[in-house]
């Protein structure tokens, strides 16, 4: 049984100060460009207070709630993968000199980041990316360094969006593991669950009292209420086999007529991990940088073999994405690649909703 403590709203700055004094740069929700995004903060004043988000397929709007709460919204366009698996990475550099070429790997020691406000689905997404980058035959040591350097302060969701379906994917809305500390925003303060020895070291000096029975009950009812509010569902029963049995379904073509193959769904997805590597020479070809950047199965060039894309139309690209995410991910990594965060639904510029498409694809054709 984890240790539970409590602190008042007016003690929130103390908690933040403790994170910073322990050497962490704190990344947390802030408002930028009309959305809640994850960026570095200096004080709790940089965090949104009294905001929520309205989300629908292809639609996101910030709204004022009229209260002063800190976390009454769901996930936005960013995910933590932006920090753990940055969109642009320098891998190595080659430099030509009189004695020939020298090659130097770029080592990322990992910035000490404290991620504040990580939701349950996002913890699940981190675990999925850990499996991809750390648990196969090839370990991405830069990812490992970034992961090891981070401190995780999770938050239990109180107000899910209409695109959330973590309950179907069994990832949320309550945080179960994978955090150093997990917070629940109560009516007058925060319940704090300590999930690791690192978390314990962090909060011990603060001397926050143990939580009372009432505070634990209030936290439970907030999570129960959040669960009840989640209306979107995806039937995952035998989903791998059901989808793989429908590879020639006519509905793939129907989705392809709407899909723009624009890559947004894969960019915002917290588990999508594809990248490409290119060599970038200077004018004189005396210095060549090897750079890695996010790529997507929706780019025609992504499946180029001998100069021609293997998946040469949107139908096959959408099918690749959906069947990898929900079906062949099981074959590759022993679990689903979707955590039910709903980002791909919200941030698709034409509002394509994978839960609706899955339901249509699993219907038998007449």
């Amino acid at each position: 049984m984890n240790d539970f403590r409590y602190f008042r709203i007016d003690q929130f700055p103390e908690f933040l100060k403790q994170l910073m004094q322990s050497g962490y740069r704190v990344i947390a929700p802030t408002i930028d460009q009309e959305a809640i995004v994850y960026a570095e903060i200096q004080s709790i004043d940089d965090m949104p207070q009294g905001y929520t988000d309205e989300q629908k397929p292809g639609y996101y709007r910030l709204q004022h709630t009229g209260n002063q709460r800190f976390f009454d919204y769901a996930v936005g366009p960013h995910s933590w993968k932006r920090y753990l698996f940055p969109p642009l990475q320098l891998i190595s550099t080659s430099i030509k000199s009189q004695d020939g070429w020298t090659f130097e790997d770029h080592v990322d020691e990992g910035e000490p980041y404290a991620f504040l406000g990580v939701r349950a689905c996002e913890l699940a997404a981190m675990r999925i990316q850990d499996r991809v980058f750390l648990e196969g035959s090839y370990v991405d040591t830069n990812y490992q360094n970034r992961r090891n350097a981070s401190f995780i302060v999770a938050v239990n969701c109180a107000v899910p969006s209409a695109n959330c379906f973590c309950t179907s994917m069994n990832t949320g809305p309550k945080c179960k593991s994978g955090f150093d500390i997990a917070l629940t925003e109560l009516s007058d303060g925060f319940l704090m669950e300590i999930g690791s020895s690192l978390g314990n070291e962090m909060v011990t000096p603060l001397g926050f009292p143990s939580a009372t029975e009432e505070q634990l009950t209030e936290s439970e009812s907030i999570s129960d209420h959040a669960t009840e509010q989640i209306k979107k569902t995806m039937d995952t029963t035998d989903l791998r086999n059901r989808l793989m049995g429908q590879l020639e379904h006519s509905h793939w073509k129907e989705v392809a007529d709407r899909c723009l193959s624009c890559t947004n769904c894969t960019m915002v997805c917290p588990t999508c991990f594809c990248s490409h590597v290119e060599e970038v020479p200077d004018l004189n070809q005396e210095r060549v940088d090897r750079r890695k950047s996010w790529d997507s199965c929706f780019n025609p060039g992504f499946s180029k073999l001998h100069g021609t894309p293997v998946r040469n139309d949107t139908r096959s690209r959408y099918r690749q994405w959906l069947t990898h995410k929900l079906a062949t991910w099981h074959d590759q990594f022993g679990e689903s690649g979707c955590v039910g965060c709903g980002r791909c639904i919200t941030w698709c510029p034409v509002g394509i909703d994978l839960t609706v498409e899955v339901a249509a694809l699993c219907e038998e054709e007449p």
Partner: protein
């Protein structure tokens, strides 16, 4: 030191903005001058040398009877010919006259149209001579321009990324203006290259780099119309600097037809 690459830059109907993109390279220009002989670049130097040229960059579209002849002469003196920008690659904004009443336009704009020698159409360079590579953009991107010159210098195959503007938004933390603000944006259909400048300043993409590979224009217009935008509002998205690019031309014409049908049904 290997021999310098002989570079020629020629201009047809255009605004000079793409050539300026090369001059904007400031820092790299000196380095470039070590590797390249600017044999014909009137925008930058009055020293003009005749061909042959190893690499020619063409800005602008074919829009006068004189152009028809001039482009053939250039091609004959050129090893590798690359078009730069939307005008040279897709006819430019001036291609809006294609299919419209050219004489009427002339009368509206010029007091003495009889002195103006102009073709009824503005067409891409590739309609007239063979082109080795087309660099998109309005204007072109300085980095891509330098890369093309460097590719030629070092005998590499020309290539630029062909993904959508959306990927560049996401890579740079730009929040989608379409989803978060309801602004119609051409980014999902447009080839990247500009670094998503317009969305960065909270505007929809204008499609300067033209349609990306296998673009689904109907998918976007169907959604936007269902979302409450009128056909009239969407026409300028497509009939803009890349109006002659086939996918944009087709969609623009379709929206024009829908718009006049909507107009009639209101009468």
């Amino acid at each position: 030191m290997p021999e310098k690459l002989r570079l020629g830059i020629f201009k047809f109907a255009s605004c000079d903005g793409c050539q300026l993109s090369l001059l904007n390279a400031e820092e790299e220009l000196l380095e470039l001058a070590e590797l390249v002989e600017f044999a014909h670049f009137p925008e930058a130097s009055s020293r003009i040398e005749s061909g042959p040229y190893d690499l020619v960059l063409i800005e602008g579209s074919i829009s006068t009877p004189n152009d028809l002849d001039h482009i053939q002469k250039i091609r004959r003196q050129t090893d590798t010919l690359v078009t730069i920008g939307a005008c040279a690659t897709a006819g430019g904004i001036q291609a809006l006259r294609n299919g419209a009443n050219h004489d009427e336009f002339m009368k509206l704009v010029y007091p003495h149209p009889e002195f103006v020698q102009s073709l009824a159409t503005s067409t891409p360079i590739s309609n007239h001579v063979s082109v080795d590579f087309e660099l998109r953009g309005c204007p072109v991107d300085t980095g891509q321009l330098l890369q093309i010159i460097s590719d030629k210098l070092h005998h590499r195959k020309f290539s630029v990324p062909d993904h959508s503007v959306c990927r560049d938004c996401k890579l740079q933390n730009i929040v989608c203006v379409s989803v978060a603000r309801g602004i119609p944006c051409l980014g999902p259909l447009t080839q990247a290259g500009c670094g998503a400048i317009c969305p960065r300043f909270h505007r929809g993409c204008y499609g300067c780099f033209g349609p990306c590979h296998q673009t689904n224009t109907d998918g976007l217009t169907d959604w936007l119309i269902k979302d409450g935008h009128s056909s009239a509002e969407l026409i300028p998205l497509f009939l803009n600097v890349n109006a002659e690019a086939p996918e944009f031309a087709r969609t623009g014409a379709q929206l024009m037809r829908q718009d006049s049908a909507e107009g009639e049904s209101h009468e």
